[in-house]
Symmetry: C2
Subunit: 339 residues, 2 copies
DNA sequence: CAATTCTGCTTCATCGATTGAGCAAGCGAG
DNA sequence: CTCGCTTGCTCAATCGATGAAGCAGAATTG
């Protein structure tokens, strides 16, 4: 096993030799505590200049191995195919860097096995803290982290072992459903139950949104038709198939829908355009998620936008304060359009 | 500075003590080359079982420090706010994992300084290879990598120092422009020059797309109006402002546009809907990029979808074959709708 | 039966950075 | 001139994993 032949990397020992000093002086200078270590400003400057000239780059592996904290912060995220998770990741990286942490993010494609594997990999890389975003089994991840003495936080979907930051799904869904119900009533002159499409029936967010959906119906004095709650998964094909087979079964679909994510909306829209179920007028839609192009699709769509900046502020507040109690923080989402 | 108090992590030394053997035996067993190191199957099994029971996790920092290859592969990416980069990252992670590599991805928000900082950070983490996606200065990154003896590959935007994989922007733009020109001619009965909006005039992709745009005009015998080539940057606001001030200047805008990315399209669409420039009929649009909801916006939009799977196959082919010559591989994009 | 080979381990140096402990020179006080 | 303090460094152990080299004891060979 040979070293990379091309260019052996410059180490603090090389710099020490060049500067005619010791490696420990170099180390002290390069990580800024040379005052504490009583290195003269002269030597400090010489070493700094040399490091610059030689293009020295710290070997994090060696540094992390020696220190107690790695300053690496991990995040796992289900998908990169929508604005919500995309902005979570961007915001996360920005805020991590502001705190002098190195963010590493990985996408698990909603695959439970990959989620666990990814969490283990992050622990191997000695992350100080792991954020599980939209995880299918947050508690499993929390357990793995806790066994390694690593802090964990849940985002988007809550768990019961560590703190969680999620949207106020009930309130968001309540308001969204209200608007779609009233849009339908305004246009079609009658109160009628809506269709709910998308999401996993077992996940907390979906069940809270269904609860909001029901509450808005109750408020309006409209009975929810249980056949019309399709928690079929998030994927576009699943939403499309669910709605297709429902249409085959019941004949006529409602003039209003609650769609649980832009991803599911993709399938719903596809079906609406392919089938000739709504030849005259588009149904009124409410989408629990936000996308700029969906907003342009027409006036018949209302959206709820999750407040990503506030959610991540809450996440970092937990991290900064070292809170570990498994409380759930709910951030109100933003209802985009004015009905 | 104290160690994490809670749970000190299990190391190979702990396992060695528990198994009554040496750390090197444990190491040999756990990384699978115990046959080569002549460890008995019996001991191997005992160690494996113990590791399982104790929830042992390899310390990658220590392991990487000792080995010559880190098996970490880095990628920098400009943004997570569109399907193109999102699918690049997902595909990259999947393919990296298939090869037993650990992917680390970071987003630089089109900030040149952050790009360099991110590249340096990745080198500190001893990546074996760095993929610079849509970098503003790929050659700078390649130089930094080369100084550290690390391989680099450019994706989406080409450089001159290391291999690059990009879309065939000229061909894609040519075909897209042809379609929009012919859509306009069909509807409005006259050949007229289109508007080009979005992208940086200095980047290779944009200039190739402008070249394709011009070639299609030439082919159709239509003169390109130089005032109508707005390479104003990618951001929605920039596209919106550019088009707004152009409208103020020239009065009437063309009935067809070539929009250079979905991100710029966001601004263009916003302007179209806010201004009353096209009260009767929407202009025909061609977008060099793909998004499912844009596709639903109407028949007046044509899209070119970059072939992400083939692009990443090409990237990994370069990596697997250790090619280093700075050739540019152009992957034909897919023209989505049939005009 | 001695010489050699094979088996199944252990020992120890090493990767690069960090940090507590320690050492020598200089300087001021007594 | 000596004692003690400060200044400005160096030394060496350490983090955890890896693998070349080496070393007993058993098995095989001539």
């Amino acid at each position: 096993m040979k070293r990379r032949p091309q260019t052996k990397r410059t180490t603090i020992y090389d710099l020490a030799e060049l500067a005619g000093t010791s490696a420990s002086a170099v180390s002290a200078v390069l990580n800024g505590n040379w005052k504490k270590r009583r290195i003269s400003a002269q030597l400090a400057e010489r070493i700094t200049r040399l490091a610059e000239e030689q293009g020295y780059a710290l070997n994090m592996q060696a540094s992390v191995l020696r220190r107690d904290r790695s300053k690496i912060i991990g995040m796992i995220v289900p998908k990169y195919d929508n604005r919500y998770f995309g902005s979570i990741v961007e915001q996360f990286e920005t805020m991590a860097r502001e705190r002098g942490l190195f963010p590493i993010v990985t996408c698990t494609r909603r695959d439970p096995a990959l989620e666990i594997e990814a969490a283990r990999a992050m622990l191997s890389y000695q992350v100080d803290c792991l954020i599980a975003t939209g995880a299918t089994d947050p508690d499993r991840i929390a357990d793995i982290c806790s066994a390694a003495g690593v802090r964990a936080v849940n985002l988007d979907l809550p768990g019961s072992r560590v703190p969680s930051v999620i949207s106020d799904n009930f309130a968001g869904a309540l308001e969204l459903t209200r608007r779609v119900l009233s849009n339908c009533e305004r246009e079609f002159g009658e109160k009628a139950p809506l269709l709910f499409v998308g999401g996993r029936g077992t996940d907390h967010n979906t069940s809270e949104r269904v609860r909001g959906f029901r509450a808005a119906h109750a408020e309006a004095g409209v009975a929810v038709d249980e056949l019309l709650v399709l928690t079929c998964g998030y994927a576009p094909e699943k939403a499309e198939n669910a709605i297709k087979s429902l249409a085959a079964k019941v004949g006529t679909l409602p003039r209003g829908m609650f769609v649980n994510s832009t991803i599911s909306l993709e399938g719903v829209m596809r079906w609406i355009r392919r089938s000739s179920h709504y030849p005259d007028r588009m149904p009124h839609l409410g989408c629990f998620d936000w996308d700029p192009f969906v907003a342009m699709l027409g006036d018949h769509i209302e959206m709820v936008r999750q407040d990503v900046p506030r959610m991540l502020e809450a996440v970092f507040e937990i991290i900064d304060s070292s809170a570990t109690d498994p409380k759930v923080i709910e951030i109100p989402p933003i209802v985009e359009k004015i009905g």
